[in-house]
């Protein structure tokens, strides 16, 4: 409240001088000759902007003529301002010790207001407490739901929309300093990842691509990514949020600023007649992928996603369907590795005790100490199969002559032997957190020295990679 605020006391003109003693504690408002306007003792108009009638405490009558004026003012209060009880009267026409009595009367009124205000505030504080308690309970329930999801459902962000790249259209070129804006073709609730597609890596590795996700209606940027140019490769660039956007629906826009030294070329998808969705006049829409999750909740970051700036380093990573889909065959047998939409898993099919392997580039993120996931031989009958995980640095790919690199001590899990059609969880515990990005190898072989009549349907499902912070959980 403004320090200068005072309640208003209304007097008639003839009482104005007598009432001036009140100026210390109240604003004296004198009724004008028209019985409708009011002025302070200096003659300045007092109206609703100055608190009339809300701040009026009472009508103070110090002389008999004031009592007649009160009747008129009372009517004004009822008719013009809709105050059912009218304008209270403080009749001190017969007061002996006028100043003291008037002060006392005003003090009584103010005390009464103060008591009501206290009661109101107490009630409000009680309501806040109730709401806070409800909020705590709801947050707790939500956290439980999140934890359940992460544990049981192996939370996977859902790919909800793909605007496929069209190689037949010219790429959208960004020169150094260029900025473009792509409105996303989806509402914001649950948005968790955005993918854009690069035609090629920039020639120069210097500089960076800055991407901002903004919500138009709030006018706020909700996430920023800065990707160094040397990390940009041909293909999809996935930008991930640690927490999916909340349930409040708004228009999401992606703003890209290229701060590199050479040209950056982005893949287009299709032209669209609505200019709101074109990143540049006449240009087609960008090729896009959009993922969503439960609005406002956290899900393990995908290993192929770039976390936003200022987001806390993730404690766990999702090595999910998008990673499994891009797994490469590291076996000598062509076709040994195949992603299955039906099984939502990756087949790594051994024929004998020779290891069949799939490689997921970069799935071992720095900080990981524990990787686990489901495995199963997806057939009713057949030989037993052994499963294992292994990690090798990304640069090991180039040195490898055979299909598998040499795995360091502590970078390979124990072999897990399974009969057909039985699901189990496979774990790889690292004695030291990974210091740099590693490739993850998914290994399978037929147990014993038998040879299967056909490649066995050994299947790896989505995995979680945990850091030391949460690995104990």
């Amino acid at each position: 409240m403004d320090e200068s605020w005072k309640p208003i006391v209304i007097v008639v003109n003839s009482d104005a001088k007598s009432a001036s003693f009140l100026s210390a504690i109240a604003q004296v408002a004198v009724i004008g000759a028209d019985d409708r306007t009011f002025c302070d003792l200096e003659g300045n108009l007092i109206g609703p902007a100055q608190g009339l009638p809300g701040d009026v405490l009472c009508f103070l009558a110090l002389s008999r003529s004031a009592l007649e004026a009160h009747a008129i003012a009372d009517r004004l209060w009822r008719v013009e301002f809709g105050v059912a009880d009218g304008l209270d009267l403080e009749d001190h026409t017969r007061a002996r010790n006028r100043e003291a009595e008037v002060f006392a009367a005003i003090a009584r009124r103010l005390s009464s207001q103060l008591r009501r205000s206290h009661a109101g505030k107490t009630r409000l504080m009680r309501e806040v407490a109730l709401l806070r308690r409800d909020h705590d309970n709801m947050q707790g329930a939500f956290a439980s739901l999140e934890a359940y999801f992460h544990r049981i459902v192996r939370s996977e962000r859902s790919l909800t929309m793909t605007l496929s790249p069209d190689p037949g259209l010219p790429a959208l070129s960004l020169r150094p300093g260029d900025e473009i804006e792509q409105r996303l073709p989806a509402d914001s609730p649950g948005l968790s990842d955005i993918g854009i597609c690069l035609r090629s890596a920039p020639v120069s590795g210097a500089g960076s691509l800055r991407v901002t996700l903004e919500l138009l209606e709030d006018g706020e940027a909700v996430a920023d990514w800065v990707i160094p140019a040397h990390q940009l490769t041909e293909g999809w660039l996935r930008l991930s949020l640690a927490r999916a956007l909340g349930p409040d629906p708004q228009t999401a826009v992606l703003r890209l600023v290229w701060e590199g030294e050479s040209e950056l070329r982005l893949m287009p998808s299709m032209p669209h007649p609505d200019p709101r969705f074109t990143p540049r006049s006449g240009a087609p829409m960008l090729a896009l992928r959009l993922w969503k999750f439960v609005p406002g909740t956290q899900a393990a970051l995908p290993v192929d996603g770039h976390p936003a700036q200022l987001a806390p380093m993730p404690d766990e990573w999702n090595i999910g369907l998008s990673a499994l889909r891009r797994a490469q065959n590291a076996s000598p047998e062509p076709g040994a590795v195949e992603f299955s939409d039906l099984r939502t898993g990756l087949f790594v099919r051994p024929k004998s005790e020779a290891v069949a392997a799939a490689r997921i580039d970069g799935a071992g993120r720095p900080g990981m100490v524990h990787i686990f996931g489901g495995v199963k031989t997806e057939q009713e009958a057949g030989p037993e199969v052994e499963y294992a995980y292994a990690l090798a640095p990304a640069n090991a790919r180039k040195r490898v002559a055979s299909h598998l690199p040499q795995f360091d001590q502590g970078r390979v899990s124990d072999w897990l032997r399974l009969p057909p059609n039985e699901w189990r969880e496979l774990h790889l515990f690292l004695d030291q957190p990974l210091a740099e990005p590693h490739d993850l190898y998914l290994l399978s072989r037929v147990a014993g020295k038998s040879v299967a009549p056909a490649p066995v349907e050994a299947c790896f499902f989505r995995m979680i990679g945990k850091t030391a912070k949460v690995a104990a959980e």
């Binding site: 605020w5 809300g54 809709g82 709030d218």
Partner: protein, 860 residues
């Protein structure tokens, strides 16, 4: 910007409060949280809320934010009164406030909403207000109200939420909330008033306005009372719903036709094909089509596509049938999806059309093609173009109605390329780079302006859902001449003369043929009228099918129970409609009057039933007296009859018949000389000129001709049959000559004749008698209808009672043959009596009454 300017209050937010004591805080906080580089003053107007909490909350905030939050209590007066109070206070108290935002006490704003909205108002100086999309919380929903503002659409649905930022100028123009709207939609009414005052709105897509939606609310109550509120709105904004206004708005905001002119490779957008319009390249048009496909609620496209050549349209215009052609094609496309028009030179003096739903390949020759855009869009989504391409073959798969229109024979043939041009355009559209993208709905809000896809239906609603004739009012005085058919009858001749006279009084007449699809449209008709139109409604019948009668005349079924929309739609744009014995057309006259059109019944004669009882248009018009502004009988006698039948005198404006063509003075003199120089020893030249049907007493004529034959009498019988009937008597048939249509031919015929014989059973006031008398031909006629008004027995002709007419006629012929002095005396008196008879003067009283009607309407 200076600190002073930055800090001044540029926006006032008015929050009317009644019973939202608890939720109010969220609204207040959202205003206090506004991020803007200008001052915002918040005015809380307590509408006499009975909850003490409301005042307590308002006072706390006012005291906590003095000068920024102002509390204004008032007696309960309703939402409109409360908003007005707050607005008035804001504008009077804060002279620097540029705009007022109205926030309901249970709604919220996002932090940048007002800054963004004021910026939008600045960016659109032509806009009176900025309105939001409606993002709902509570019960979640997001409605898209984007796209160009349209007053046409706004009259049909509330597209502007009260939560709009409104420029001060709107209120200063006197626009306020109507306090009589207490049950809801008061914001809709407010914006209609603002539009009527000349202001428009602009949508701000990312406004940041949040609407609290609950299952029970004032809006819900309003929806329950919806019908009554809409009626009140229509009453108050009657002008906004007038067809002329709706047509004008349609032209400006949502043109009905996209006209691809294949010879210019351009697309013209217009509702009125005769008006200058927006023109687009095919590429720009393609983008519009695809834009509309991707989001029809935001992006309009004309509901019909037309393919033609500019030359073809010019030919239609020259034939005075351009607007009618578009109207007829639209009606056909409505039913079939596709319609086509084939133009071909017709017979001399005739115009007509035929329609077929099985063109069997003839559609390929069409000059104009029209397709519903909705159907076009469906075909563009087809995997294969085979279905639509079959339009170019005899085995045409799409349903199509082909109209074949006969133009004047001198019309140059125009190659029919419409189908091929259309298919070429379809191919272009299908090959468009926009096609794939446009199939995807990318916006996340739900488009809530469904009517943007079919704005042409708005005007139709005012016309009993009839197709609205695509013509704008242009300030001229347009008069519709309604005739059931046009052949060579007297009523048609009278109508033609009416038209000529109306033109001289500054009216522009238009011809409407109601019952036939073929008519005798002479060059003179074509020259005198502004347009030629055929109703071509197989359901319309001037007579028949009725269930009841008035004064013995059947009230036609179509008049009482027919689907009037088609005719209403055809006539809505006129200022005056004159029915020339239009029969069942009387049934729409009341509706036309309610549209502000002056209605006139032109009356000529009563028909006779099979038993000789008078019936017909005279009685039917009396039945519909309430629906006609004026009655224009062709004679004073008929005028007296009208009054006697209960038509108020003030409504009766006689337009006495006059000769149907002018007789130049020199020709009149030559005719006089020629007649004076005739040899009295020559046979008496006797002529019948007129229709050869039962009305005309042909059996009596035959009897006379049999007895009064050569060498004393020389006969000519000139005329044609209009209606099928009994065969002509042999003696009559032997003398029949073809119909004469041109004034020159008629003058020559009257010059030849000494006597004209007309022994009709019933008549009005035949033009033949007047024309004959004007050239000094002595008329022998039966005393029927108003003949006695001009023909006075023994003074200027021979008037015979119907009973005994044959003997009377023979006697008169004998007398005249023998007494050429009598012949001469009667001839001279006949000529003198007809001298002053003139159509222009005859029409004057009616023209003056109609013009007075325009002035009176303009003053209202």
């Amino acid at each position: 910007m200076s600190a002073e300017v930055l800090s001044r209050d540029r926006v006032a937010v008015v929050v009317p409060i009644y019973r939202h004591s608890a939720l109010l805080i969220e609204a207040i906080e959202s205003v206090l949280a506004q991020e803007a580089e200008f001052g915002i003053v918040l005015i809380l107007v307590n509408d006499g809320c009975p909850f003490a909490e409301t005042e307590a909350t308002c006072l706390d905030y006012a005291r906590a934010h003095p000068g920024r939050v102002i509390y204004l209590p008032k007696p309960n007066g309703g939402l409109s009164d409360t908003r007005n109070r707050g607005i008035r206070f804001a504008l009077e108290t804060f002279p620097e406030v540029e705009a007022v935002y109205l926030l309901d006490a249970d709604n919220r704003l996002r932090p940048k909403a007002l800054a963004r909205a004021l910026a939008a108002l600045e960016a659109h100086p032509e806009a009176g207000w900025v309105y939001p999309n409606i993002d709902m919380f509570g019960q979640r929903y997001a409605g898209d109200y984007g796209g160009p503002y349209s007053q046409l659409l706004h009259a049909q649905m509330n597209i502007c939420e009260a939560g709009s930022l409104i420029r001060r100028a709107v209120f200063e123009a006197g626009v306020v909330f109507d306090t009589s709207f207490r049950k809801g939609f008061e914001d809709w009414e407010f914006f209609l008033s603002a539009a009527a005052a000349g202001f428009t709105g602009v949508n701000l897509e990312d406004f940041g306005f949040l609407y609290r939606k609950r299952p029970e609310s004032m809006l819900r109550e309003a929806e329950r009372e919806g019908a009554a509120i809409r009626l009140a709105m229509r009453e108050k904004h009657r002008e906004a719903f007038r067809p002329a206004m709706l047509m004008r708005l349609e032209q400006a905001e949502a043109p009905r036709f996209a006209i691809y002119l294949s010879d210019r490779d351009e697309v013209a957008l217009s509702s009125d094909p005769g008006q200058e319009t927006e023109r687009l390249s095919p590429e720009a048009f393609s983008q519009r089509i695809w834009l509309s496909q991707s989001d029809p609620s935001r992006h309009p496209s004309p509901p019909f596509m037309v393919v033609a050549t500019e030359a073809g349209l010019e030919q239609l215009e020259a034939a005075k049938m351009l607007h009618w052609a578009f109207w007829a094609l639209e009606a056909a496309a409505d039913q079939k999806g596709i319609s086509a028009l084939l133009l071909q030179p017709g017979s001399e003096g005739r115009a007509g059309l035929s329609q077929s739903d099985r063109p069997e390949g003839r559609q390929v020759l069409a000059n104009v093609l029209m397709i519903r855009t909705a159907l076009l869009r469906e075909t563009l989504q087809d995997e294969s173009a085979a279905w639509i391409n079959s339009l170019a073959s005899a085995a045409c798969q799409p349903a199509i109605r082909l109209l074949e229109l006969n133009l004047p024979p001198q019309s140059a043939p125009i190659a029919g390329t419409a189908v091929f041009s259309f298919l070429s355009m379809v191919q272009r559209l299908r090959a468009s780079p926009w096609r794939r993208g446009a199939m995807m709905q990318l916006g996340w809000r739900k488009g809530d302006i469904a009517i943007r896809e079919a704005p042409h239906l708005i005007l139709r609603r005012e016309l009993s859902d009839g197709v609205a004739y695509p013509r704008l009012r242009d300030g001229g005085r347009h008069v519709g001449i309604l005739l059931p058919l046009i052949e060579f009858g007297g009523v048609e001749k009278v109508a033609l003369n009416f038209v000529r006279a109306l033109r001289s009084w500054g009216f522009e007449p238009h011809l409407f043929v109601l019952e036939r699809s073929d008519a005798a449209i002479s060059d003179e008709w074509r020259a005198l009228v502004g347009s030629i139109n055929f109703l071509a409604d197989p359901a319309f019948r001037a007579w028949g099918g009725g269930q009841g009668a008035y004064l013995g005349t059947e009230v036609p079924g179509w008049a009482q129970d027919g689907a009037h929309g088609r005719l209403l739609g055809m006539l809505h744009w006129l200022d005056v409609v004159i029915s020339f014995h239009g029969g069942a057309a009387a049934g729409v006259m009341g509706q036309l009057r309610r549209l502000g059109i002056q209605t006139v019944s032109s009356l000529h004669l009563s028909d006779l039933s099979a038993f000789g009882r008078p019936v017909g248009n005279t009685y039917l018009s009396a039945a519909y007296e309430h629906a006609f502004d004026y009655f224009a009988p062709c004679s004073h006698q008929l005028a007296d009859w009208c009054h006697a039948m209960g038509i108020p005198q003030d409504k009766i404006v006689a337009v006495p018949n006059a000769p149907s063509f002018p007789l130049p003075a020199e020709i009149a003199q030559a005719s006089l000389r020629q007649r004076a120089g005739r040899d009295p020893a020559e046979p008496l030249r006797v002529m019948y000129l007129g229709r050869l049907d039962a009305q005309k007493g042909l059996e009596r004529l035959a009897e006379v001709m049999t007895s009064a034959e050569a060498p004393r009498f020389d006969w000519r019988v000139i005329g044609g049959a209009v209606m099928a009937g009994a065969p002509l008597p042999a003696v009559v048939a032997r003398h029949v000559e073809p119909v004469l249509t041109s004034p020159e031919e008629l003058i020559a015929a009257y010059d030849w004749a000494d006597v004209l014989v007309l022994l009709s059973g019933y008549e009005g006031l035949p033009l033949t008698i007047l024309e004959a008398m004007r050239q000094g031909v002595v008329v022998i006629a039966t005393d029927v209808g108003a003949v006695s008004e001009v023909l006075h027995d023994g003074e200027n002709g021979v008037l015979l009672p119907l009973e005994g007419a044959v003997l009377g006629c023979l006697s008169a012929l004998d007398r005249l043959s023998r007494d050429r002095a009598l012949l001469r005396r009667l001839s001279e008196r006949a000529r003198a009596d007809m001298n002053a008879r003139d159509w222009v003067e005859a029409v004057r009283p009616l023209a003056q009454r109609l013009q007075a009607g325009f002035k009176s309407a303009a003053q209202k």
